[in-house]
Subunit: 539 residues, 2 copies
């Protein structure tokens, strides 16, 4: 299928001057979005000749025909077509206010809390500022500008960095002292030992995911089990490394349940096709689906990985984002160790990031992966991969250590820190509930509970007329809906087709991040749009 699309795309490039239009319809649900997005980009290039000079105009002739086809294949919906349209609308609003029926673009496409007004945790920023410019520490003004524990913590961190040089490359896994702190934080969280030598600090979680894909994927005969719907970093990374995404479907009717029987079915089916399945990706709490796994479910998943010899890639970046009292986050490492499984039993990589949680420090690009259960010589290879980029940024490293070791009772900052943290998490829970209720009130829309993470992934039953109109516009039906929503309201949701979904179903993902006081107005705009959309396309 992919090859077919690429060759047709090539035809399209060759034939573009004759203005031939080839409509590709594709029965493969998982790829529908990427192919159609790719195609729509081409079609928009075709209709705007300035955007696509003929290859011959460029001496170097680097063209879509001769770049790495894995790059072409890779798609990343959360910053894809819908965001390009939003950016264009924003530009138009800037140039001529009043050009659209809304004043601003509301970016609900990505978990980027501070872009929507969330304030950073004061203690974290105090420590970062002091580490950036340690000269302040010696000044008599410092105690009136900074809390005593931030000053103390900055000294402690600087003392962990050789030469106190926050401007030096660190060990490629990250500053040893900071890894010690993180390992202690993991131990405190799980009640099981953690080894600082297993920690690899990274610029956000993404580079760690790429590193493991690079290690494990040899060819398209290597498969990685990924949830559908999934966060498109995984499909993008697998595509870039030339592997095969082996989908397992989350069960929407049981609140996006992860069923081991489904894992087994998909694993066996892939193996029958000659695919060597190397790893299982689990995102918990779920992205884009927002569910929090139950501990006994996690135990079954761990046992499954052990039995089948799969590396468990545990995306645990939303570990602080749980909003319902009956659910609790358990790390997969804790679950594995509780079962008595040690390093020899299961290879497990746990991802954490400073971008999520209550801190939401996306721009700092801090994170880590804890890599356990790999033979020493394989871990050497992971180290080598880390070393090729020298190290992750030191401020991100420091922040990762702060997140895993925040102020404690008795520290000067503790009260204000706790108030900031609780304020954010409680507000997120309320926002999730408000949006969930609003989605469920829309005709043809059903939405599971947001137990955790930062997203809702409602399902939408679209009228046949809307599906046909989408087809005519060469869009996936949910992309068609999201683009119309954006054009009418300025709200940016990401079409479900960017995450994958069961064939014949349509969804969109919304973050729960707009500021609380704005949510009633957002719901009003959304409801109004939805009603008029459904009226326009009613069968």
């Amino acid at each position: 299928m992919r090859k077919l699309v690429l060759s047709r795309v090539r035809d399209l490039v060759v034939n573009r001057r004759s203005d031939k239009r080839i409509i590709i319809s594709c029965s493969c649900c998982r790829l529908a979005a990427s192919s159609s997005t790719l195609l729509s980009r081409f079609l928009s290039s075709v209709s705007d000749p300035a955007a696509m000079p003929a290859p011959s105009e460029f001496t170097t002739a680097v063209t879509l025909d001769n770049i790495n086809p894995k790059v072409l294949k890779c798609e990343y919906a959360v910053r894809g077509e819908i965001v390009s349209i939003a950016q264009r609308l924003q530009q138009e609003l800037k140039m001529s206010p009043g050009a659209h029926p809304f004043d601003e673009i509301l970016y609900c496409n990505i978990g980027n809390p501070q872009s929507l007004g969330q304030q950073p945790i004061t203690f974290f920023r105090e420590v970062l500022a002091l580490c950036d410019h340690p000269a302040i520490l010696d000044s008599p003004e410092a105690p009136s500008l900074f809390s005593s524990d931030s000053i103390q913590r900055a000294w402690q961190i600087l003392d962990q960095i050789p030469g106190r040089a926050t401007g030096a490359y660190s060990h490629s896994q990250g500053v040893k002292g900071l890894r010690d702190t993180i390992a202690a934080g993991i131990e405190a969280r799980d009640g099981f030992p953690a080894d600082p030598d297993d920690i690899f600090l990274t610029d956000g979680a993404s580079p760690g995911v790429h590193m493991m894909m690079q290690l494990l994927v040899r060819s398209e005969q290597d498969g990685i089990l990924c949830p559908i719907p999934q966060y498109p970093l995984y499909s993008a990374s697998i595509a870039l490394h030339g592997g095969t995404l082996v989908p397992y479907y989350l069960n929407e009717s049981t609140g996006w349940g992860l069923e081991v029987s489904e894992l087994k079915r998909q694993l066996d089916a892939s193996r029958a096709k000659g695919i060597t399945v190397r790893a299982l990706v689990v995102i918990n709490p779920g992205n884009p689906t927002g569910q929090v796994l139950a501990e006994d479910n996690q135990r079954d998943i761990v046992k499954f990985c052990k039995e089948e010899g799969l590396v468990l890639l545990a995306d645990e970046v939303y570990q602080e984002n749980v909003y319902v009292p009956e659910k609790e986050f358990h790390s997969f490492k804790k679950v594995a160790r509780s079962l008595g499984y040690g390093d020899k039993d299961i290879a497990l990589v746990s991802y954490q990031s400073v971008s999520k949680g209550y801190y939401g420090e996306c721009g700092k690009r801090g994170g880590y992966m804890e890599v356990t259960g790999f033979a020493a010589e394989v871990k050497d290879q992971i180290y080598k991969l880390a070393s090729v980029n020298l190290c992750s940024n030191i401020a991100g490293q420091i922040l990762a250590s702060l997140v895993m070791n925040p102020p404690k009772v008795g520290d000067e900052s503790y009260e204000s820190y706790s108030a900031e943290k609780d304020g954010i998490l409680k507000s997120l829970a309320r926002r999730a509930q408000m949006l969930e209720a609003a989605f469920n009130s829309l005709q043809g829309v059903t939405c599971n509970r947001a137990e955790g993470a930062m997203y809702l992934f409602p399902r939408i039953e679209l009228p046949q007329k809307a599906i046909k109109a989408a087809e005519a516009a060469n869009k996936a039906p949910d992309a068609f809906y999201c683009i119309r929503l954006l054009q009418a309201t300025g709200i940016v949701f990401v079409p479900g087709s960017g995450f994958g979904q069961a064939p014949g179903t349509w969804h969109f993902r919304s973050t729960i991040l707009p500021q609380e006081e704005l949510i009633p107005a957002i719901i009003e705009r959304l409801t109004e749009f939805h009603q008029s959309f459904m009226a326009e396309f009613s069968d």
Copy 2:
């Protein structure tokens, strides 16, 4: 050859319990280092069973046999075996001081100025601290702690960031306002226009290099022309992306001259073998070789790329590091535009980093690439690659803008800034000269001038007896020399074989970064070691 090594390595793993020793000698100079390093790692694993558990002990069975062979092939000498040995020695010194004939390890393996005591530029750190914790800006203490222009600059930068949110993901190419500043800095440097939409801010220069390799390399039939000696990021990245490194040799006898006739010869030879050469890497000022290209030489290189349809990947991260009055840095973009070549004539990527220059802010992981001469739809693909990792860290982005727009005459910080900058650059020039003279005074060692960058790459004529001893120890001769030097003095140089060198020649790379007052003692230790080494192995 590579396949042969891998299969032999496999034999080695299989046969390790029977303790068979297979010595691999390899006539392929460029790969000698990587193969022998690989092998030596295996041999050391074999002799230390604890370091290498049998694969069967691990359920998951991720082994060197079944990971991505491109990862195995990739080597990164500047953080390779020599650094591992250094770290072990450092640990031993910590556990038992006096265990070795030196008190500390002197890391001259990597251009990491602040790890060796270089102080950061005050103005840059002031701005970073203020952007990290903008609450300080409003405090009455701010003017006594920060220069007025750092306060002004911080406000200006915060106003360029939507919502003043330094903790938010930015546009995937970087904050637009910061790209505007960088483009203006490039214009001021070159006298030719620069477009902020051509700037991609990156976490140091390395991710930008990987991105272009990912874009251009489809298979091992795609080649990238790289200097030999080269900075091993290039060989590592090409290996990881599955391409072929097409070497061109710098002419040591003309001060590491880059000859277009050699480029042409290697290009033609590769094409005759069916390789599609896609790009030419030029590192100017040179790493590890320290030469600064003359402008007419650059013109010839640009013409060559235009004629041959090659993308020019210009590593210009040492653009501020020029130490001789008769040489000056010219960007390749300026040279191309001076020739009248525009976007349609040459595809050119220029890399810059905050890690080098007089700032040396390696730990901040800031940098950018300026991407010109690519068709719009190809640039969209580069943008997509950038978007998969969301964005580079904002502090690094801010620092990149500061580096391209430092304090100007009249600003409060200007004088102290200039004094700090000049102090560092003049000291680097003196250190380069001192070390160059010292290397040239050693028996059998010749060293070209350090015109720029942060390195010297002396050539060493090793006695036959030393070469034989190295062979017996299964090391490249220059690696043997460097390990012995490290063990005797604590000084870490990187063997030339990690960078590539003309067959039958041996070198090592040293940074010029140790603090000036330490250099006489370093030279003394080095000289003493060298004399005793040469005496031990004299023929």
